[in-house]
């Protein structure tokens, strides 16, 4: 390995190449499961690549997110992400998470399934009416999660053009200046702050209102800023994740026609297939949100010292050959699949059940209603996102 002792590799190891994972991860899992890396910004950090080690970093209470506050966090963007639920530890984290957890349980999400089916059907109707080719990113993958989260949160869908721009800005790596990003963020917080005030005047039955009530009943427990930031985070969270995974999953299926035929033959296989796609598609270009050791802890045979940061690669963990048989092979019927595509531990994705349901309904309906679905341009002409945060298609022209 081209490793000069004591020199950190730059990370991500290589620019994103479609949905392919750099082979260096597999080599690191084998020979150097904990390695030093340097992200474009922030301090040097350990990178864990094995499944068991990544779970330890994310799940062991001796690793802290709160300790990142005030440090020069390893990151992909010039601007440091401030505060929020992802920068807290229990019990502060628990206090905030409990406030919204109820709205995102499997049971609550099931109640949204019929309405989600309706939204998906309407989007496909509109695609069919427009006629091929249609950009699946713009006309399907983007409106679907945004409409669902808007309805769930009680945010006017008509305003989506506003906060779509702001949310994109939040996860853009290099295309905007820090001042510009701050301006968009202020816009987003201002917009949400306005909604919060509105809930105060006219209470409704949605999670934002529940947050407002909790805040007003227990002023000592929540700040206005926390409530606004959390609500903004919920609105923004699906923008770069579910929006990107829907076309990614469609792309993987359309480029694995035999497996797609197997899936179409029995639509009850869709939920299992979605789990495999979550495992197989390495969404994040790099991992972020480092955890800081609060005491000396051994990880992957290395003693991590108290105060040192570690990041765990979810994509690498999901390809760990000691956990997943034939890990680089897509197997839509994979039975044992404890992937960590939604993270692990206290920060395990709050929207995981919602995202799963959207992906099941979205992908399931797409492949059944459009049996001739295909990518409308030759593969080399597909355009991929060039930013460094998530892997995904910028546009996906499809025909049927």
């Amino acid at each position: 390995m081209p490793d000069v002792a004591g020199v950190a590799r730059s990370y991500p190891f290589s620019p994103p190449d479609r949905l392919n994972l750099d082979p260096l991860y597999a080599e690191l899992r084998r020979v150097e499961p904990l390695t030093r890396v340097r992200l474009p910004f922030g301090e040097e950090v350990w990178l864990a690549t094995r499944y068991a080690d990544v779970r330890t970093v994310l799940g062991d209470a001796r690793f802290s997110r709160a300790a990142s506050v005030g440090r020069d966090e390893p990151r992909l963007t010039p601007r440091q992400i401030e505060g929020g639920i992802l920068s807290m530890d229990p019990p502060e984290h628990t206090r905030l998470r409990r406030l919204v957890a109820k709205a995102f349980t499997a049971r609550r999400v099931e109640q949204l399934r019929p309405r989600t089916r309706q939204i998906v059907d309407e989007l496909i109707d509109a695609m069919v009416a427009a006629g091929p080719p249609v950009d699946l990113v713009e006309h399907f993958a983007t409106p679907l999660p945004i409409q669902v989260i808007c309805e769930l949160l009680g945010v006017p869908f008509a305003d989506r053009h506003l906060f779509h721009v702001w949310s994109e800005a939040i996860v853009s790596t290099t295309s905007l200046s820090p001042e510009q990003i701050q301006k968009y963020l202020d816009n987003l917080y201002g917009y949400i702050g306005e909604l919060v005030q509105q809930r105060r005047r006219e209470p409704t039955d949605d999670p934002i209102c529940a947050m407002v009530q909790a805040r007003d009943e227990h002023r000592d427990r929540f700040t206005e800023q926390e409530v606004v930031q959390l609500a903004a985070g919920l609105l923004a969270a699906g923008h770069e994740t579910t929006v990107t995974q829907l076309p990614n999953f469609a792309y993987v299926l359309l480029t694995h026609p035999e497996q797609l035929a197997w899936l179409r033959a029995e639509p009850a296989r869709v939920p299992t297939a979605i789990e495999e796609l979550m495992r197989y598609v390495p969404l994040g270009v790099a991992s972020a949100f480092a955890r800081y050791a609060t005491e000396d802890i051994e990880v992957g045979g290395v003693l991590v010292r108290a105060g040192e940061p570690v990041i765990g690669s979810l994509s690498s963990a999901n390809r760990d050959e000691t956990v997943f048989a034939d890990p680089d092979r897509l197997d839509l019927g994979r039975e044992t699949n404890p992937h960590i595509g939604f993270g692990h531990g206290v920060h395990h994705c709050l929207g995981a059940q919602l995202a799963r349901m959207e992906l099941q309904v979205g992908i399931g309906t797409l492949i059944t209603r459009l049996p001739q679905l295909r990518i409308a341009v030759p593969e080399p002409e597909l355009t991929w996102k060039s930013g460094m945060i998530v892997r995904g298609l910028a546009r996906m022209p499809v025909a049927w």
Binding site: A61, P90, T94, G345, A352
Partner: protein
């Protein structure tokens, strides 16, 4: 102990997110990827309620001495 609470995890529902272990490390641990209560009967404490209320699949139940459901509400 008659005033104790009974804590159960439904193994058929648990998705092994590890949330409960992180929130209430004294009360839950992961075994073969699934959560199990460290003690089935516990002294009343907010920690187990927090965990039951936050579990994404509502796999955790907390019951009082009279078998009444305390959490999730």
């Amino acid at each position: 102990m008659s005033t104790g609470w009974r804590v159960e995890v439904d193994a058929g529902r648990c998705i092994g997110s590890g949330g409960c272990v992180g929130m209430a490390p004294g009360h839950f641990r992961l075994e073969s990827g699934l959560a199990v209560p460290i003690a089935v009967v516990v002294e009343p404490t907010d920690a187990v309620i927090d965990a039951a209320e936050s579990c994404p699949v509502e796999a955790i139940t907390v019951r009082g001495g009279d078998d009444a459901l305390i959490a999730p509400a």
